[in-house]
């Protein structure tokens, strides 16, 4: 897929949305930051028939950031939905998949605390198990990313 104006337009818009989110976040306006990034998620994607690695990475990354922001807003269900949506764009063992799983681990950790505080022991234990599982998966992927960069293992993506 050759780099063209439409692809650059998308990337430039993505950068603008992230900076809008930065401005909102810096002033403590988390809903505003979420709103800016949701516009990026809904932004028209050029070349929908083709796989564009850069766009997939942007989509995986923005879903991870959205999930973190929703976690700060105590919207755990929304955060988990963002992770699931983001993983579609990061099917391989890349940094972006590792990032999404790491954020998912923190979501499950928060879920564990909330369920435990509510006295829902069984549900809390399940969340705890998921938190550990997701975190370990993230660590494993990030280890692969680093090992590949050191030439210790083959593989694709960074």
């Amino acid at each position: 897929m050759a780099v063209d104006l439409e692809m650059m337009a998308f990337l430039s818009a993505a950068r603008a949305f992230h900076h809008e989110a930065n401005v909102h976040e810096a002033s403590g306006d988390v809903p505003g930051a979420i709103g800016a990034l949701e516009r990026l998620v809904r932004f028209p994607r050029p070349h929908p028939e083709a796989q564009v690695v850069e766009i997939d990475e942007v989509m995986a990354d923005v879903r991870a950031r959205l999930a973190e922001l929703r976690l700060r807003s105590r919207d755990l269900a929304g955060a988990s939905a963002d992770i699931e949506a983001g993983l579609v764009y990061a099917p391989h063992r890349t940094y972006f998949r590792g990032l999404l799983l790491q954020v998912d681990g923190t979501i499950e950790e928060r879920r564990f605390y909330l369920l435990a505080d509510a006295g829902l022991r069984d549900e809390a234990e399940k969340a705890k198990a998921r938190a550990l599982e997701r975190s370990e998966e993230a660590v494993s992927i990030h280890e692969d990313v680093i090992r590949r960069s050191l030439g210790l293992e083959g593989g694709q993506g960074r």
Binding site: V3, S12, R15, H18, D61, R65
Partner: protein, 133 residues
């Protein structure tokens, strides 16, 4: 310019071109590309006001165009011109101490802040690598 001898006399063509450039610099409405660019560079470095009569004659549309060109050139001076000697503004590794000016409640908050801050830097670096200005 022909030859490398700084003491040689200018050619007739060079004299004509120089005179055309001098006249163009005196003409506030010139369309000569080199003059427009030079003025844009000067305005980007040291913006100046226009006399009211000149401003009125200059016209709002052209002023907007020159201001936009000045902004683009000014930005290019910082980020590098396309295709030549690009000076990219990479976010580099540095101390995380400024991230912890206030009290941090949980230990994991420290790494959360580091990862968040450097994640934003990574995002910027990727956009820069892709050539998004």
């Amino acid at each position: 310019m022909k030859g490398d001898d700084p003491d040689r006399l200018p050619t007739a063509e060079e004299l004509v071109a120089a005179e055309r450039l001098r006249v163009a610099f005196e003409d506030p409405w010139t369309e000569l590309e080199d003059v427009v660019l030079a003025r844009a560079l000067r305005l980007a470095w040291a913006p100046t006001g226009l006399e009211r009569s000149v401003a009125l004659r200059f016209g709002r549309r052209r002023m907007v165009a020159v201001a936009a060109l000045a902004a683009v050139v000014g930005l290019a001076l910082v980020t590098g011109f396309p295709g030549g000697g690009s000076v990219r503004q990479w976010r580099t590794s540095r101390s995380t101490e400024p991230l912890f000016e206030e009290k941090v409640v949980m230990r994991s908050d420290r790494i959360d802040r580091i990862a968040w801050a450097r994640g934003a830097d990574l995002r910027e670096n990727r956009f820069t690598r892709w050539g998004v200005r």
